[in-house]
């Protein structure tokens, strides 16, 4: 391991806390939300204690500072994913709102009844429900790239779907259940060749992989700060500027306008056109601090560390009798291990693990159709991040033996 784990863990105050029954918390739920380093917490603290003011429209010192901090964060977030310009970085609340923005603005302006949108069977609800809503409203059609037994997308089936000339291909870069890292570059290239626009759900990839939206050639890329060491309440929609410029605004209000008359308005330029009202200022600043933090450590190193932990975890979990793991082998996935324990409900698994201090998630992880596909209502899911250790994996495994004993 090339990460200095001891140093990193010191940055995350929560990793030191105890749970109710006096155990140190073992946080294996970073796929739901990551923990936050002091550097991020303090950046927001500092903002509120020193520079808090509303942005853009103020000329006083605090407003100038707040604006510079807010826009500075946008620059660094843009650089983090290698956007051509920070004008392509739209602040939203989260990945979900980013996808809805595309569905409300781009899709409602560009899709008509009968137009095809291609999704995958492994999508998070956030990349399903907005399209269900549009289907009900507009009569678009939805098709799904199938997922194989071992958790991979069926690219042959995808190529067949492309023959039907979809208008949009929207897919997750990394599954939050299977961990599968999809070949985004290839999927996008094929989509473009078929004339489709592409939207990448990057909620799980931006935190864990080095992302280059220009190398991927993604048209839209959506992600959330809270999964990548940043605060809640802020996410990003990246979009190619030509697309964003042609899109109608989404939410109306202050800041997104250039001019307002009593009965009409003119929209502002990018990125402000899509940011209505007082934005999540402190949160944008916290997000900026988060990408600084990740950059300092290095996304490559983080990915490598997660790979080592994941490989070890899969190995150890497989040893346990009655464990069924989902998703591909460690070389094709990120730091997620979803599993069921024969005859024991995942909620009970998670609850009993919790009593051992081990925090895993149980449920459908907002991917109900995927679970249905695998014929199960829910899984338990352990997930890893830059601060995860092999020792924590061992505690998970010990906990699972305890679960088996109780329900034995």
């Amino acid at each position: 391991m090339t990460l200095n784990l001891n140093e990193i863990r010191k940055d995350f105050p929560i990793l030191d806390r105890e749970t109710a029954n006096g155990r140190r918390v073992i946080y294996l739920d970073s796929t739901a939300t990551s923990q936050k380093p002091v550097q991020v917490i303090e950046a927001m603290n500092d903002y509120y204690r020193r520079s808090n003011a509303n942005i853009h429209r103020g000329v006083h010192t605090l407003a100038e500072e707040a604006t510079a901090l807010y826009e500075g964060a946008r620059e660094r977030i843009g650089a983090f994913i290698n956007a051509a310009s920070s004008r392509e970085i739209i602040y939203t609340r989260n990945t979900t709102e980013s996808i809805n923005l595309v569905a409300y603005s781009w899709a409602r302006a560009n899709l008509k009844a009968g137009d095809l949108v291609v999704l995958t069977e492994m999508e998070h609800h956030s990349n399903l429900v907005p399209w269900h809503m549009l289907q009900a409203e507009r009569g678009i059609e939805l098709e799904f790239i199938p997922v194989s037994e071992d958790g991979l997308l069926d690219l042959d089936a995808y190529k067949l779907l492309l023959e039907r000339n979809p208008k949009l291909v929207s897919f997750t870069h990394m599954s939050n259940v299977l961990g599968t890292i999809n070949p985004a570059g290839e999927i996008i290239k094929l989509a473009h060749a078929a004339g489709a626009v592409t939207l990448v759900d990057g909620a799980q990839s931006a935190p864990h992989l080095a992302i280059d939206v220009r190398a991927l050639d993604a048209d839209f890329y959506a992600f959330s700060a809270h999964k990548m060491c940043g605060p809640t309440g802020i996410g990003v929609l990246y979009g190619k500027s030509a697309l964003l410029e042609a899109m109608p605004p989404f939410l109306g209000g202050g800041d997104m306008i250039k001019e307002v008359k009593l009965r009409s308005f003119r929209a502002n330029t990018l990125p402000h056109k899509f940011e209505a009202g007082t934005p999540a200022i402190a949160e944008a600043i916290g997000f900026g601090a988060a990408v600084d933090y990740l950059n300092k450590i290095g996304m490559q190193k983080i990915a490598e560390h997660e790979h080592v932990i994941t490989e070890y975890a899969l190995e150890r979990l497989e040893e346990i009798p009655g464990v069924r793991l989902f998703g591909p082998s460690a070389d094709k996935k990120g730091g997620v291990a979803a599993f069921v324990l024969d005859g024991i409900h995942p909620h009970d698994v998670a609850q009993i693990l919790d009593q051992e201090g081990v925090a895993v998630r149980a449920g459908h992880h907002c991917a109900q159709p995927l679970h249905e596909k695998f014929g199960i209502p829910a899984t338990s899911r352990a997930s890893f991040y830059l601060y995860s250790t092999k020792d924590e994996v061992d505690q998970l495994v010990n906990g699972l033996y305890k679960v088996k004993e109780m329900f034995g």
């Binding site: 409900h345 679970h371 209502p377 109780m406």
Partner: protein, 131 residues
């Protein structure tokens, strides 16, 4: 044994007395726990005086949701629909004999929500039914 998994819960979960379906039935309703996909269906037979004479549940879910459904069936047989309507969160917690955080509470209350939505003839089982 850990508090949350008192033996009674594991026992009712492993060996439920009221699992199954009633056909015919007078009232039947089913719903999911949106948080985990757990599913409960409840069938009732009710006599002319509005007394529950038979009750069964079916579905899948965690020990807490299934045990509380089993305990709930046991509790309501012989009761009037009016008194079923009056049951709330506390009644379930009393049956289980444990304290629960907000998330597990949803598991525990799913069966009561489904039951009351069925009794009231509602289309959906809302949280407000068990507050």
């Amino acid at each position: 044994m850990d508090d949350l998994y008192r033996e009674v819960i594991i026992e009712h979960y492993k060996n439920p007395s009221y699992r199954g379906k009633l056909d015919p039935h007078d009232i039947s309703f089913a719903d999911n726990n949106p948080l985990c996909g757990d599913h409960i269906q409840i069938d009732l037979r009710v006599n002319a005086e509005g007394i529950v004479t038979e009750a069964m549940f079916d579905g899948h879910g965690c020990a807490i949701s299934q045990a509380s459904a089993d305990l709930l069936m046991e509790e309501i047989i012989g009761k009037s629909l009016d008194s079923v309507k009056k049951m709330n969160k506390q009644d379930i917690l009393d049956l289980l004999g444990i304290d629960l955080g907000p998330v597990r509470l949803k598991c525990a209350l799913l069966s009561l929500k489904v039951l009351k939505a069925g009794v009231y003839g509602l289309g959906e089982a809302g949280d407000d039914l068990v507050e």
